[in-house]
């Protein structure tokens, strides 16, 4: 009798436990959003939304808060990273899903997944010791958009590879068989059938990669030099939004601190937009198959 009651007890209450878990994570998210917005609001009010977003001068000691260089900087390193990461990542995904023998895959896939777990400060250190000096050989200080893009590329590759590979694997077998039966070669099948069929998953992997790239702070601070200027060449130094917060938060007070939280709000909105693109892309993929 007691046993039955206790089993029901667990059964009845388990849903409250998971509800507790779910609502906790939601409350945490909401608290962060509200807190960031509340702290950032004074900056929007005193600087003005337009001047804050389109202003090109960032001089906290003179109360000049324009984040346009950081927005451009964020977009520049992210764009550079994705230009490099998309062909490399999708190519690697095709290799893992279609070309490589099972033995190679069994080794490569965990290796790629391991890359996700490496802390970003390690990527930054490798960037300082390897990428920055290499770029310095070409021109300038080496602390540059190019260095940031290369480091970010390495950081987003695992995301692009693993999600793209999954989506190529999820393409129904009959597509491939049909194509081969019609006389297409393996490569023609990959290029004209498999990749187009997996397109939405690949797009989702790219968008998730962008999301990760745009929010990266630590590795970027270490390799891009953090000068608040709109870069005119890949060898110029610049600052990203996330990096801008991390560089100055330790010493900021008053309106300066509010302005850093306001950068957080901008970043929050930017990432929300990117994530909703990812959701739409993935939903399309699901409807298709």
């Amino acid at each position: 009798m007691y046993r039955i009651v206790s089993r029901y007890f667990v059964d009845r209450n388990a849903k409250y436990l998971v509800l507790l878990c779910a609502s906790t994570s939601f409350i945490i998210l909401a608290a962060i959003a509200i807190f960031t917005l509340r702290e950032g609001l004074p900056a929007f009010q005193q600087v003005g939304l337009f001047d804050f977003i389109f202003g090109t001068e960032w001089r906290p000691t003179l109360d000049k808060f324009g984040i346009a260089p950081m927005i451009v900087g964020s977009l520049a390193v992210t764009f550079g990273a994705m230009i490099l990461a998309i062909p490399l990542g999708v190519g690697c995904a095709v290799l893992l899903a279609e070309v490589a023998p099972a033995k190679v895959r069994r080794f490569l896939r965990p290796a790629v997944e391991l890359l996700v777990g490496i802390p970003s400060v390690v990527y930054g250190l490798v960037g300082i010791l390897l990428v920055v000096p290499t770029i310095r050989q070409i021109a300038g200080t080496g602390y540059s958009v190019a260095a940031g893009a290369l480091v970010l590329m390495a950081m987003v590759l695992p995301t692009v590879i693993s999600i793209s590979e999954d989506s190529i694997r999820a393409v129904p077998r009959i597509y491939k068989e049909g194509s081969l039966a019609l006389g297409a070669t393996h490569w023609q099948t990959i290029w004209h059938v498999m990749i187009p069929a997996a397109r939405s998953g690949i797009v989702a992997s790219i968008i998730l990669g962008i999301g990760r790239a745009i929010g990266e702070a630590m590795a970027m601070i270490m390799v891009i030099g953090n000068a608040v200027q709109i870069p005119t060449s890949p060898l110029d130094s610049t600052r990203t939004l996330a990096g801008g917060i991390a560089v100055e938060i330790a010493y900021a007070g008053g309106l300066h601190e509010n302005a850093l939280f306001a950068i957080g709000v901008v970043l929050f909105i930017l990432i929300m937009i990117i994530n909703s693109f990812a959701l739409i892309a993935m939903r399309r993929g699901r409807e298709r198959t």
Partner: protein, 271 residues
Amino acid sequence: MKEAPKKFIFIIVASLLLPSFLIAGCGGGGLSDTVTESGSTTVQPVAEKLAEAFKAENPDATIIIQGGGSSVGIKSCNDDTVDIGASSRELKSDEPNLVKHLLARDGIAIITHPSNPVAGLTKEQVRDIFTGKIAKWSQVGGENKDIYVIAREEGSGTRTAFEEMVMGKELIKSDAILLPFNGAIIMAVSNTPQAIGFISFGYIKNSVETLAIDGVAATAENAKNGTYPIIRPLYFLTKNQPTGLVKDFIDFCLGPEGQSIVAAEGYIPVS
């Protein structure tokens, strides 16, 4: 199976109570045998050494040393978050009026790559380099190459002190490389032949070359006898005249034993 509900309740209760224990744990700052300090990252390493030595003599005392930067030190001292704030610059006019205890003086060295033939600059030349008016090393007697300016980020105590003493009203040029740690500055300058940067005396390493300013070498002696021109104060701050353990700790730091530790760490003792 019999244990299941109890375990279940225990987990819920524990997960509800845990945060309150954590919060309670943070409120320990008011105990009389604990002194908390936070602020300037330039003061932090020497404050840690001082705290260690003080604890060796007073095993019951707990001294907690944190970083955060001069502005944070001033702010948290004023709102009683910590007993002692640390600042590596003078207090600004819009900052609260706190009791200052001069712990040490610190020179700011202008550093370059060891391969750079330029051995010294005037204060004006340093200023013109950091504003961008002087852009080539050949303009100050070096090779015909671009100067790469490396500075600390806005708000850093070292940068604020550098701006006050060298830049005056001029601004550091906007395409200067900004790095947020003293160690990162050393690393960048020691790896970049055309670079120039500034750093606290306490952080000087052999991998970089210090420049003579107005003909005076950047040594602790020259800083102590007042001839080196870029010197700033390092303060411990308290809200009121210190009492109890806080007073004991500050007295220890300003006393002969504390001051010898200050000197050993590369800063300039005040007594």
